[in-house]
Structures are given as C-alpha cells and as structure tokens.
C-alpha cells in the first residue's frame, strides 16, 4: 500500500489559520493600526494622518509623513478577506494614484491583496473597471508598438506619470504619498501588462480584467459594484468572440440564398404561354384595342413575366394590358410605358429609356386566359407581347442578401464603436466616429 503524503492524510487540509495580526498605535496621531502581513510588509501607512511607519522596526519608527489631504474610503475595506481565482486574499493596503493628461486628472485605486502562500496581488479599480494584477514572470520585450510577454503581443495603450495621492495600510515597499513613476500600459483584452519605471527600478506586472460583480461576490461586499464608466482598457469585447461566427453565418446564409434562387431557376417552368405581335396606328381605330387568342397557364400559382418590345425610336407608347381569366371572369388590368429617346448634345451622346419593357405580374393562378392590349402613341408603332410563366426574379435574391447583411453590419458597427471607445482613452485613439455614446457596455 503506497504511503500517502502527509497533506493528503489531512494534516494540510485543515483551513489555514488566520494570519497573525500585530496591532499598534500610529506614532503620528495615535490611531490604531494593524499589520496583517508581518515579516513581509516594509511599511505601514496611517490613512488618518499620513504617517508612514517602518513595519520591520520593532518600535515601528516613523519614516515619512505626508499631508493626508482627504480621507479616502477604500472600495474594499482593509482586512476584508475573499476568495479570488482559487486563492484566499486579504486586503492589507490601499492607495490612490493620479495622472494628469492635458490638464485633466485621472485617479485610480489599487488594493494590495496578500495571501501567506500566494504572495501579493493588486486589485486595481478605475471607473468601475477591475483588474487583478501580479508581478510578471520575467521581463517582457518591448517592441515598436507593444510588448511581447510569454509569446503574446500586447498593444501599447498609454504612457503616463502616476503619482501616489493617498495611501493607507501596509506595503512591501516604503510607500509614500507623492511618489511618482512612469507607467506604460499594454493591453491584450482581457489581459494587460504594465511597466512602472522610477529612477531606482523597473517593474512589470501582468493583469487580468475582472467583472465588478465577481469582485463583490469574492469579497462578500454589500450592495453593488460601482457602475462602469466607458470601456476599460483591458475590458474584453462582448462582440469580438462572436465576430467570426457572425461572418460565417452571413456567408452561410448568403450561400443559402443563392442556392434557393438557383434551385427555383433550375426547376421553374419558364414557359412561354403567349407570343403575339400587333401594329398600332393612331389613325386606325381598329388597332386601339386588340385581343389575343386564348392561351393556357398551368402549374401552381406563380408569376407571369410580361415583355413588350417595339419599334419605337424617339417616341413613346403606353400600353394598357388586361389579363382576363376565361374560367372565372376575373381581369387584371395594368399599364406599361415604353419610351426610347437618344441623341447627341454638347456633352456627348445620350440615350433614355428603351424600346422594350418587362414586368412581373405576381401570383397568377393557373387557368385559361386572354390578353387585351390597348396601346396609345402619337405615332404608329409595331409591338410584340410575350408572356412567360413562372420566372424566378433575381431581384428577390438581392433583397434577401441585403436584409441578411443588415444585422452583421450593425453587429460590426457596434464592435467598432466598442473598440473606438476603448482606444479613445489611450495614446492611440481610433479616428472617426463619436465618443458621446452611453457609458456602460
């Protein structure tokens, strides 16, 4: 029987004991402070007075003091524990950072999370967008317009100078308000990469976008997370994963439309049921109304193509046509005009109209019919009328194509708008469009 390791026997399966917490009074104002990661924290900051104490010193000596300009209430209170990404974290520090771009100040908030076995993480919140970040494994390689990390290329988003404006809690470095660093952000939603440069060091961190609801649930926070403003730098696009599917659907449906049209074209009757020629002379009253021989139209109810061709040139003719169902007595009357002009002027030659016309008479039932034609024209004209049964009309194929293209176009337009709003906040805004749309996505 194999020997099972101790942890599998249960010794290590017990819930981890709560971390030892050291309490002290702030040397600056006397406010109670706690050190939740003893041995790992280098500094502890008092949010009430701005004092920063040496967490490694037995007497917690005062190492810096800044003016606490205002009291900032952390989104997640210090000491709150929660389970995120499979590990239990405790919020031990909180700081506010600010950058100023073109005179406008932008502030974001960073919660320092600690786990005795997992180390540290940063839970960053800006405008309702959350990112869980950790120190990058190795140094990413900066390329022209981005950075490559673990084989993935991240796109440069923004470079700014960040200043710490408020700090409370404990930190694994000697934090102080007013501290500045140059921050380069790169994104590959939902991942992000940040490089922070000071005169002393350069650090890289890699982050993953989190939904506010997931953060709230992980830490058991009351209420709802702050509403999102705009599109986060690393916020995953809800459209991108479905963009390819949408393209495939569009291609499939377009192919189906063509197939349907071709099938009907292949199996349609397209049968000539009447081909008659007449002559019209406005001086001969007998030619003002003519009637065809009876003819039969078979098959299911379908369309009937009416083609009128003529010898017209520099003239017009109007034909009133009446299709009479000899079986039922029902008559359908419609008018068609044929006009054809051509010439040449100072701009060159031109033509207008045609000496022929074609129309689709919809939904004509089977039966025996006659056609009555009553032409009008200022000049004599020879004309010919052809009726063809059941002819698929390509127009409907194009209409169907157009209709099918509308939803994908709307989808891709929304996708583009989403990305436009994301990059509007960056150093590389996309051109075109507007950025005055809704704030939440």
């Amino acid at each position: 029987m194999p020997v099972r390791p101790a942890r599998a026997r249960g010794a290590a399966l017990k819930p981890p004991a709560p971390p030892a917490v050291a309490s002290l009074a702030c040397h600056g104002c006397g406010a109670p402070l706690e050190i939740r990661a003893p041995g790992r924290s280098l500094a502890v900051a008092c949010g009430a007075c701005g004092a920063v104490l040496d967490a490694r010193d037995p007497d917690y000596r005062l190492i810096a003091k800044f003016e606490a300009q205002r009291s900032v209430v952390p989104r997640i209170p210090l000491g709150t524990r929660g389970r995120l990404k499979g590990e239990t974290w405790e919020v031990i520090g909180y700081l506010a950072r600010r950058t100023t771009i073109e005179g406008a100040a932008y502030t974001w908030f960073e919660h320092l999370l600690h786990d005795p076995t997992g180390g540290f993480r940063w839970l960053v919140e800006y405008g309702g967008h959350w990112t869980l970040a950790k120190t990058a494994a190795g140094a990413p390689v900066v390329v022209d317009d981005g950075a490559v990390y673990l084989g993935e290329r991240y796109h440069h988003f923004q470079t700014a100078t960040a200043e710490v404006t408020y700090v409370v809690g404990e930190f694994p470095w000697r934090v102080r308000a007013g501290e500045t660093a140059t921050v380069d952000d790169y994104v590959l939603p939902p991942a992000s990469l940040s490089r922070e440069r000071t005169q002393q060091e350069t650090t890289w961190s890699v982050g993953e976008y989190l939904e506010g609801e997931a953060v709230w649930k992980a830490f058991g926070l009351p209420g709802t997370p702050p509403e999102r403003v705009g599109v986060g730098a690393a916020q995953p696009s809800p459209f991108r994963p479905r963009s390819r599917t949408m393209a495939l659907l569009l291609a499939s449906f377009a192919a189906a439309v063509v197939l349907i049209h071709l099938l009907f074209a292949a199996f349609a009757q397209q049968k000539l049921v009447l081909d008659a020629a007449w002559e019209y002379d406005p001086r001969a009253p007998a030619t003002a109304s003519v009637q065809s021989e009876p003819f039969a139209i078979g098959g299911r109810t379908s369309n009937l193509v009416v083609e009128v061709s003529s010898t017209l040139a520099q003239g017009w003719a109007y034909f009133t046509l009446t299709l009479v169902n000899e079986d039922t007595g029902a008559a359908r009357t419609f008018g068609r005009e044929v006009a054809y002009y051509f010439g040449r002027d100072s701009d060159g030659s031109w033509t207008e109209g045609a000496p022929w016309d074609r129309a689709w008479l919809p939904s004509v039932p089977a039966g025996h019919y006659t056609l009555v034609v009553e032409p009008e024209s200022p000049r004599p004209v020879n004309y010919r009328v052809r009726l063809t049964r059941d002819v698929p009309r390509a127009l409907w194929m194009w209409v169907a194509m157009g209709l099918l293209a509308v939803p994908p176009l709307i989808f891709w337009w929304r996708q583009w708008t989403f990305e436009h709003r994301r990059w509007q906040e960056s150093d590389h805004p996309l051109s075109g469009g507007s950025d005055d749309e809704g704030d939440d996505e």
Binding site: S349, W350, P362, A400
Partner: protein, 59 residues
C-alpha cells in the same frame, strides 16, 4: 445576437422561398400615365422627373 440573427435569417430564407414559389410581389406592376404628352415629346426637359427610366450619357 447570433441566435437572433439565425432566426431572422431563417425568416428571410423562408420568405424568399415563399416569394419564389408563389410569385408574390409587393411591388405594383402598373405604371402611371401622368406625364403630359408635351413633356414626353421633349425628353431633355423632363429627364429628372423620370426616375424609373434608364438614362445614359450626358446630363
């Protein structure tokens, strides 16, 4: 979105099939005879009023 699109596309395809099968059309087949003869006989003066007629060449 894709599901809604698939449903929409299904309706379009069904409509196309139905239109092909029955020959139905929402487009009226009859052309109005509204333009007076005097205008018909002077094509250069009414081109812009004749949107349905193909025109090529100089304007």
């Amino acid at each position: 979105m894709t599901t809604a699109y698939a449903v929409f596309a299904g309706l379009v395809l069904a409509g196309l099939t139905w239109i092909h099968f029955t020959g139905w059309s929402p487009i009226g087949v009859s052309e109005a005879k509204l333009v007076p003869t005097s205008v018909r006989d002077n094509p250069g003066s009414y081109r812009s009023t004749y949107g349905r007629r193909p025109y090529t060449g100089a304007k």
